[in-house]
């Protein structure tokens, strides 16, 4: 009998970081080799299962940054360090990090969209010589929703950062949506670069349009999709758009592909 692709395994939670009132980061012990941008099917038996992207990884652990939005995530928020969480994966493709190396990189992320880009941001933070420059625009709804505060502080020292809140004015943050700050990126000064956009669907759509307006060509733009999935391996059908399965060909897509994915 071949391997059961639907079979989850228990993993120990080794640490929990409270990012905001309703967003926690769970560090889970696993030796799984994860690429930047991949996701796991995370579950609690008898409650449910959902796809969660990896927000950071080390030799023996991965971090999952989870917003409390439903039945499963409510239950996950009751778990304590030492408890077991069930996972299978990692699934999906990844950001083309090797292609990013030696070039300029622009990362535009909104809200929990910061989670899937955090692992490679941390990688380039640790290895700043592997990238020509990194511009990072991060947007949050308000002060209460700011994620990864420690990382954001560190990133300021090595990246060109623009942090912004939708409406509120606080120290160190601009005001307005991420799209309003894209024109500040000196795209014309870069000889070669990539742009990564991750966030809510509408935000990605308008941020990509704004980039195109600022002269960015389509093939330089990368996004990551979030979809309902029951399997993560091309069987359940939920994430299909046209002939494309987000779990198999995504969640990371180049804009040249995404613009043809019509829901």
């Amino acid at each position: 009998m071949s391997e059961n692709i639907m079979l989850p395994h228990p993993y120990k939670i080794i640490d929990i970081t409270r990012e905001t009132e309703d967003v926690y980061t769970f560090r889970v012990e696993t030796s799984a080799k994860v690429k930047h941008g991949q996701f796991f099917q995370v579950s609690i038996p008898k409650i449910g299962e959902a796809p969660i992207s990896v927000s950071c990884m080390g030799d023996n652990w991965v971090e999952l940054t989870i917003r409390k939005v439903g039945k499963l995530t409510n239950e996950i928020f009751n778990l304590k360090p030492g408890d077991k969480i069930f996972m299978r994966g990692p699934y999906g493709n990844s950001f083309p990090i090797e292609d990013f190396k030696g070039k300029h990189l622009v990362v535009i992320a909104g809200g929990t969209g910061v989670a899937p880009v955090r692992s490679f941001l941390k990688y380039f933070y640790e290895n700043p010589n592997e990238i020509k420059s990194l511009h990072f625009i991060a947007g949050f709804r308000n002060e209460k929703n700011i994620l990864f505060k420690e990382d954001l502080k560190n990133f300021r020292t090595r990246f060109n950062t623009i942090y912004t809140l939708d409406r509120d004015k606080i120290e160190g943050f601009e005001v307005g949506l991420v799209t309003e700050h894209i024109k500040k990126i000196p795209f014309n000064a870069f000889e070669d670069y990539n742009v990564v956009i991750v966030g809510p669907h509408v935000m990605m759509y308008f941020a990509a349009l704004e980039c195109l307006k600022n002269g960015v060509s389509e093939e330089k733009i990368w996004v990551s999709f979030e979809r309902r999935m029951s399997c993560g391996v091309g069987k359940c059908g939920h994430c299909k758009i046209n002939e494309t399965y987000v779990c198999l060909e995504g969640p990371v897509f180049n804009y040249t592909k995404v613009k043809n994915l019509l829901d």
């Binding site: 009998m1 071949s2 391997e3 059961n4 692709i5 639907m6 079979l7 228990p10 579950s43 609690i44 038996p45 008898k46 409650i47 449910g48 299962e49 959902a50 917003r67 939005v69 439903g70 039945k71 499963l72 995530t73 077991k84 809510p200 669907h201 979030e226 979809r227 309902r228 029951s230 399997c231 391996v233 091309g234 069987k235 359940c236 059908g237 939920h238 299909k240 046209n242 002939e243 399965y245 779990c247 198999l248 043809n260 019509l262 829901d263």
Partner: protein, 365 residues
């Protein structure tokens, strides 16, 4: 498969003898066929015909189309994946017996589509499907004639050679073609005859499949006004998917049996892209919010993008069950033909009303 060096052998078998042979087969096989459930139909005083285990050949309803497809024999509507107790869990089991399915050509061709999704897509095999699928042998039921809603010929699924036995119900006798060595001995004492099954070569219903050859055309198709007409008609019940031999989508659902919450299971349940919440994520975000958009999604999957992905064939086999089951009388063959006409207009550059145009007319009123 070959029988004594020949492609096949055929026999004329009496009902009585056939039942004796079935009894013999039942030692190793669970045998499924379309069966009549009296007064269980959708309307009062009508019968339901769906797949179930049979005990005699008389149980087989061969002269009517089954309301449900045979897919649920190996892909049940709801199916346990794991059982959980305390901190332990185990995989669900299946019966050791092999499976024999009396099926028509369209459905046997339909199983190949299910195989593509469950055994090939993404490169991984789904063991819950595989463990039942590999037990299956088909008994082809010859279609004497096409029913009104069938369009198997248009979809190229009217013929198959993927069967172990083929049967024609002929009064008091059953003509049986034996293609599979395993079953030769069972028929050794029967009267040999010349028989190979005939296939339907023409249906009253025909469809023209639009050829969609560019992204530009696809985008225009997305914006056709025709999809809007389903907003008021389709009630998003998903009955079309429930009866479809090729619809394979599922949800996983965890349940707790007991009040103390210690025992439960993870199961999967068939679902439909026609349901409103098919794409809804925790937090409420969803895509394809209208019935029309979902109708467009389903139609294009069945006659366009499945083939674009897997190359060989369209997903739809033209069994016509979806339109017979639809409580709002939406005809899938008409939908395909309507789309074909619209696409022809688009290709000729004739003006087809788009959603935008419809919206602006609406505003102008």
């Amino acid at each position: 498969m070959s029988v004594e060096g020949r492609e096949s052998m055929s026999y004329c078998v009496s009902v009585k003898r056939m039942n004796e042979i079935l009894k013999e087969l039942q030692k190793d096989y669970k045998i499924y066929a379309p069966v009549r459930f009296e007064k269980r139909g959708r309307y009062s005083d009508t019968d339901l015909i769906r797949y179930a285990e049979i005990n005699s050949i008389e149980d087989v309803v061969y002269d009517e189309k089954s309301h449900f497809s045979p897919k649920e024999v190996i892909y049940p509507i709801t199916q346990a994946l794991f059982y959980f107790t305390e901190d332990e869990y185990r995989e669900s089991n299946v019966d050791d017996k092999k499976i024999m399915i009396f099926a028509r050509s369209c459905d046997i061709n339909g199983f190949r589509r299910l195989d593509t999704i469950f055994l090939k897509n993404g490169g991984a095999e789904d063991i819950y499907y595989k463990r039942l699928r590999e037990k299956v042998k088909f008994v082809l039921m010859e279609c004497k004639e096409s029913w009104d809603s069938c369009f198997c010929v248009s979809m190229g699924s009217n013929k198959t050679d993927d069967y172990s036995l083929a049967v024609r119900f002929d009064g008091d006798n059953i003509l049986v073609e034996v293609k599979d060595d395993e079953f030769v001995n069972l028929f050794a004492n029967e009267r040999e005859v010349e028989f190979t099954p005939e296939f339907v070569t023409s249906n009253p219903t025909k469809v023209n499949i639009p050829e969609i050859d560019s992204q530009e055309l696809l985008e225009k198709i997305y914006n056709l006004e025709m999809w809007e007409s389903y907003n008021s008609r389709c009630i998003s019940c998903g009955a079309c998917s429930a009866v479809c031999i090729t619809c394979s989508c599922f949800n996983t659902l965890d349940i707790i049996y007991s009040e103390n919450g210690r025992v439960g299971e993870r199961r999967r349940v068939q679902t439909s892209c026609m349901h409103e919440d098919f794409t809804t994520m925790a937090g409420g975000l969803s895509f394809r919010k209208t019935a029309g958009e979902r109708m467009r999604f389903r139609t294009l999957h069945k006659i366009y993008d499945y083939k674009l992905r897997f190359k060989e064939e369209h997903m739809c086999v033209g069994c016509g069950r979806c339109e017979e089951r639809c409580p709002k009388l939406i005809s899938f063959s008409s939908t395909i033909n309507r789309l074909y006409d619209e696409v022809e207009k688009l290709k000729k550059g004739e003006v087809s009303r788009t959603r935008e145009q419809a919206a602006s007319t609406e505003e102008g009123k």
